[in-house]
């Protein structure tokens, strides 16, 4: 069985955004893996560890993973260097990575990204494609569904945790809809997009980190089919944070002071 996990590198989610023209600027912050993609990768690793994911590939005639094993492949598309994100995914436990490198540095729309990723995925023949529900930088939440559509397979959105049903196999997923949950079962192959779930992404160990550099990373050049009608027309940074107020004193007085403040601000808005 082969699980492909889509990975996007985003600026550190605590970074403060500045808008310069149409491009966001994140000065002096670390690049990280999109946190939702980390949850997707963690889910893939757990499926493998559960032992269920070694089931032979159900993809008919496809180049699915070898029988009796489960391979986890990271797939990413990025014009900028994505070393840190890919390395983190490999250190967490993925077996290898495929990096699609665009010929130009132009910004890609979700439609273009999704279609190109789908082309790359077709060459890999995954049984499962996992990715974050959305990316923490642009929050478009489109790429997963577009990939499913381009691959012509089913998709399960908003997944918090996943297991494999045998025989079948089918993906059994617990999904969140607002405050409620529902469980679905979906035949393979399929695409699943993940939210923050109860299984927190693992920290790679020292040994994982220092063996990750031996894992293969294939780079393939891609060029976008300029298909999207979408373009950005303006970008506004979030407003300056308003002055904070320190509340001092013991728990009881502090709680009362906080309630007074909330009351006052509610009054003002009314």
């Amino acid at each position: 069985m082969r699980i492909c996990v889509l990975l996007k590198q985003v600026p550190d989610t605590s970074a403060r955004l500045q808008a310069v023209g149409l491009e966001p600027l994140f000065g002096g912050c670390l690049p990280v893996v999109n946190p939702y993609d980390e949850f997707a990768l963690e889910a893939a690793l757990r499926l493998r560890e559960s032992g269920a994911a070694v089931h032979p590939s159900p993809v008919p005639g496809g180049p699915g993973g070898p029988e009796g094993s489960c391979e986890i492949v990271l797939v990413t598309l990025c014009a900028a260097p994505v070393e840190e994100a890919v390395f983190h995914g490999l250190a967490m436990g993925a077996d290898r990575a495929v990096v699609a490198e665009p010929s130009s540095g132009a910004r890609w729309t979700p439609l273009e990204t999704g279609r190109v990723l789908a082309e790359v995925l077709k060459t890999l023949g995954p049984d499962l494609v996992f990715c974050g529900e959305k990316a923490a930088d642009d929050e478009a939440a489109q790429v997963g569904p577009i990939v499913a559509e381009a691959l012509g397979v089913a998709q399960v959105c908003g997944v918090e945790s996943a297991a494999l049903e045998l025989p079948g196999p089918a993906l059994r997923a617990r999904c969140r809809r607002g405050n409620s949950f529902h469980e679905v079962s979906c035949g393979l192959p399929c695409v699943a997009t993940f939210l923050r779930g109860p299984a927190l992404p693992r920290y790679p160990s020292m040994a994982d980190i220092f063996s990750a550099k031996e894992k293969p990373v294939h780079r393939i050049p891609v060029s976008p089919a300029r298909v999207s009608a979408l373009r950005r027309v303006s970008l506004t940074a979030p407003p300056e944070e308003r002055g904070r107020k320190m509340i001092r004193g013991g728990a009881r007085e502090a709680a009362q002071a906080l309630l007074d403040l909330i009351d006052r601000s509610v009054d003002c808005r009314a």
């Binding site: 670390l30 840190e84 390395f87 790679p204 020292m206 040994a207 980190i209 550099k213 320190m246």
Partner: protein, 456 residues
């Protein structure tokens, strides 16, 4: 290597892992453990975090791969230690002492000894294996290389009982981190420096022995109640006819216990240096955000006052200088098989003492609120006060070592800058250990002589 401070992919990942561990696993327990009036209970609160650190490979990362460690370099260690010590240097000390204890085994142990003990350390199913480095003694430690015979210098003795092929250890030790183990019955391995030849001085008479947990005659008592570094534990140890087989003497250390002490405290020098950098960095971040939020009754946050901005500038430049000196010292150790006695001492002394100045500035910036336990600076100051006096104190041990090195005729002041190996020799020991007895032959005048003139 060209001068290049770019972190590798692995180092960036290691930094992220160590930071995540420190922020998410360690930080939640720090305040309570630090405030715990009983130092033993405070230490026990760190056990879960220690087990996680063990699982992540942080506890024995320095052990070579063939014995189950990660075989990381000293520079890699710097990256992880800064992140951990930015949250709590006491916990960092617990991890550090595993290295202080096992590095002499890695350098001097026989293949058989390394296989036996290192593999044990790295393959503990309970994930709480802990090592103690047993050097310091209640009657003083700094003059371990005193040329006089017993009872000068190190007082714990290990007499060889030929009839049974065993060493018999007697005497008292103190300050040895981790020596309690997790149940006050002892660390899994105690790496003990003792006088194996009573008739000889500190430069010939000391050796290093492995005393495993549960050995009869080893007793731990009296947990020390410290001002800071409260998440790490130090007891007193009593040896009463404590017997270990002769094979527990670390092979190459017989009569070289002095070199083992110096080399181990050299290895830990840049680690203690970067630990101090971690604490300074946290103090800086606290004062920076305070300065941007607190108006002190004025109309603007205090960062708009010039003195606040200048203090921040002064703090930052010293922190960066300390960080790169530590990195460089670690790099030098990597390049020269840990024979970096000058580099190690420079970074340990400089960063430790600097941290007190920097935190003092942070407190001056923040003002009176820095003096209460609601805010982190008072803890940083308590923790920092330890840096110049632990891990081989800066006066009696570190500066004295530098004095010995610099006074020796082979000393090349440019060796560090030019990355030349500067071999530490026994003749560099013993300086200042016995006031009134000038160490002969170390000025470069005339022929060199060993300073053993007062040893017997």
């Amino acid at each position: 290597m060209a001068i290049d401070f770019t972190l590798t992919k692995e180092q960036k990942e290691l930094q992220k892992m160590a930071r995540d561990f420190a922020q998410k696993v360690l930080k939640p327990i720090v305040k309570e453990a630090d405030a715990c009036p009983d130092p033993w209970k405070g230490f026990l609160m760190t056990k879960k975090a220690y087990e996680k650190a063990y699982e992540l490979g942080l506890a024995y990362a320095f052990v070579p791969k063939e014995y189950g460690g990660a075989g990381v370099s000293n520079v890699d260690t710097q990256i992880a230690v800064e992140e951990i010590c930015a949250v709590d240097p006491g916990f960092g000390c617990t991890l550090l002492v595993n290295g202080l204890g096992l590095m002499p085994l890695i350098w001097w142990g026989s293949e058989e000894q390394k296989k036996k003990w290192l593999t044990k350390a790295t393959s503990d199913p309970d994930k709480d294996f802990i090592v103690s480095w047993v050097v310091s003694e209640p009657e003083g430690t700094a003059n371990f290389d005193h040329p006089g015979k017993h009872p000068c210098g190190m007082q714990v003795t290990a007499d060889y009982d030929k009839s049974r092929g065993e060493y018999v250890i007697n005497g008292r030790k103190m300050w040895n981190s981790n020596a309690t183990g997790w149940d006050q019955k002892g660390a899994d391995i105690n790496v003990v420096v003792a006088r194996t030849d009573r008739s000889k001085g500190g430069k010939e008479g000391l050796s290093v022995l492995i005393v495993p947990r549960g050995t009869k005659g080893l007793r731990v008592e009296g947990i020390l109640n410290k001002l800071g570094h409260r998440l790490t534990v130090q007891p007193r140890i009593i040896f009463e006819n404590c017997r270990v087989p002769a094979e527990n003497l670390i092979a190459g250390t017989e009569g070289n216990g002095d070199l083992a002490i110096t080399k181990a405290f050299t290895w830990s020098g840049p680690v203690a240096g970067i630990a101090a950098v971690g604490v300074m960095r946290s103090a800086f971040e606290t004062s920076l955000s305070w300065a941007k939020e607190y108006a002190a009754g004025g109309s603007q946050p205090i960062i708009h006052h010039q003195n606040v901005g200048y203090l921040l500038a002064d703090m930052k430049m010293r922190i960066e200088a300390g960080r790169y000196l530590s990195w460089r010292a670690a790099h030098y150790l990597d390049q020269h098989d840990s024979e970096g006695m000058e580099a190690g001492a420079l970074s340990k002394i400089y960063c430790g003492e600097l941290s007190i100045e920097v935190i003092n500035d942070a407190m001056r910036l923040m003002g009176i609120n820095s003096y209460i336990k609601d805010y982190p600076l008072e803890k940083h100051m308590r923790d920092a006060l330890c840096f110049p006096i632990y891990d081989a104190g800066n006066m009696g041990m570190q500066r004295r070592r530098l004095h010995g090195i610099m006074a020796h005729e082979s000393y090349n002041p440019m060796a560090l800058a030019q990355n030349l190996r500067q071999q530490f020799v026994k003749a560099m020991h013993g300086i200042d250990a016995d006031p009134g007895h000038a160490v002969a032959g170390v000025t470069g005048k005339g022929k060199r002589r060993e300073c053993a003139s007062v040893s017997s």
